[in-house]
Each structure stands twice: as structure tokens, then as C-alpha cells.
Subunit: 109 residues, 2 copies
């Protein structure tokens, strides 16, 4: 029903989650899926390429660790560049909300 709702906002959402502290891919996907009223579903085929893209662009830095108990985990940390990029994406989001929202209003001929 509500597919494609993340489209265009995956980078922002991932960076926002990382802004609360280092974490790893699987946990990011879980968080997104859990904190979204059952509406969003961030797929692994989306997330992992996204993390690599963000790393290639210098917005995050990955490191291996925390594989004490289970399978190995690749953690990611937000860089300064990433923090700035996140602010930019948040600003873009708020502009989009306003502008598209106005266009979608009804009866404002």
C-alpha cells in the first residue's frame, strides 16, 4: 500500500539516524521499519548500497566491530561533512513540505 514512501529521502533518514550515534546497517533498517507506524520498509538492497554511496561521498565512515555475540557488524559514524549534508537535506525537506503542500491544497484556485 504505502510503498515508495521513502523514495528520495533514504539518505536523509539514514544520516538522521546516525546523527544519534554510531550504529550498523541491520539496526538502521530495523529502526526505520519500527518507528514508522508499519508504513515504511527500508530494504537491504536499498540500504547497503546507500551506505556505500554515503561513505564514498564522505558523509559517513564505516568500521568493523561489535561482533562479540553474533555475525560481524559494520558500524557507521557520521562525519562533519555528513552532519552538514544532513542539515542541508533537512532544509530541503522543509522547503518541499511547504511548496508541494501548497500545490496539493484543494480549492485554492
Amino acid at each position: 500500500m504505502h510503498r515508495d514512501m521513502l523514495k528520495g529521502h533514504v539518505d536523509a533518514v539514514v544520516l538522521a539516524i546516525l546523527s544519534r550515534g554510531d550504529t550498523y546497517g541491520y539496526a538502521i533498517a530495523k529502526q526505520v521499519n519500527d518507528r514508522s507506524e508499519g508504513v515504511l520498509s527500508l530494504k537491504e538492497g536499498t540500504l547497503y548500497p546507500c551506505l556505500r554511496r554515503l561513505e564514498a561521498e564522505g558523509y559517513v565512515e564505516g568500521y568493523w566491530g561489535g561482533d562479540d555475540d553474533g555475525p560481524r557488524r559494520r558500524y557507521y559514524a557520521l562525519t562533519d561533512r555528513g552532519r552538514k549534508h544532513l542539515e542541508h537535506l533537512r532544509a530541503a525537506w522543509s522547503v518541499q513540505q511547504r511548496v508541494i503542500g501548497r500545490l496539493l491544497e484543494e480549492g485554492n484556485a
Copy 2:
């Protein structure tokens, strides 16, 4: 700067404009570009295929007319199906606003 901001919302925006009355492609693009703080730019290569898609799905109906003064114009009218679809898209938009907005908030660890 603010490119891709329409991404995923072109159909909704076009249907919303048509909900205010029949109009034609070029005028739709103008309206979007003008009513958006100079931020959005709906391209012809996006709009015309979009209108054909919407027509193929039964959400709009096109007809030729109004070519008194200038080049011929193809007008479009929203169908009942299109009106329902627009309501659905507006609802999806509001859900997205809430859900993504919450994920993007800062400091809610």
C-alpha cells in the same frame, strides 16, 4: 540546487491542478513553476509522458481545443477515478509528511 524536489509527487501535483478546472500541459508546467517560490521546475519531458500515463490509467481525459489564437492545445479533464486517486495521493502525502518528518527530527534518541 533544489532539483528532484517534485520526485514522486508529479502525478499528485498535476491532478491537484486539474482539480481546479480543465487546462493544458504548458499551462500546468507554468503554474507549477510560478507557484513554487522559484524552487520547482516541471520539465516538458516529465509532464507530457506523465499526462499520457494518467490518461492511460483513466485518471484524466484529454481533448483538443482552444487553438483559436496560438498553437493547438490539448486540454485535460479530471475523471471521477482521477478525483479518487487524488484523494488517495493527498492522504499518502500527509502520512509521508508525518512519518518521514518524525524520522528526520533531531535529538529524539
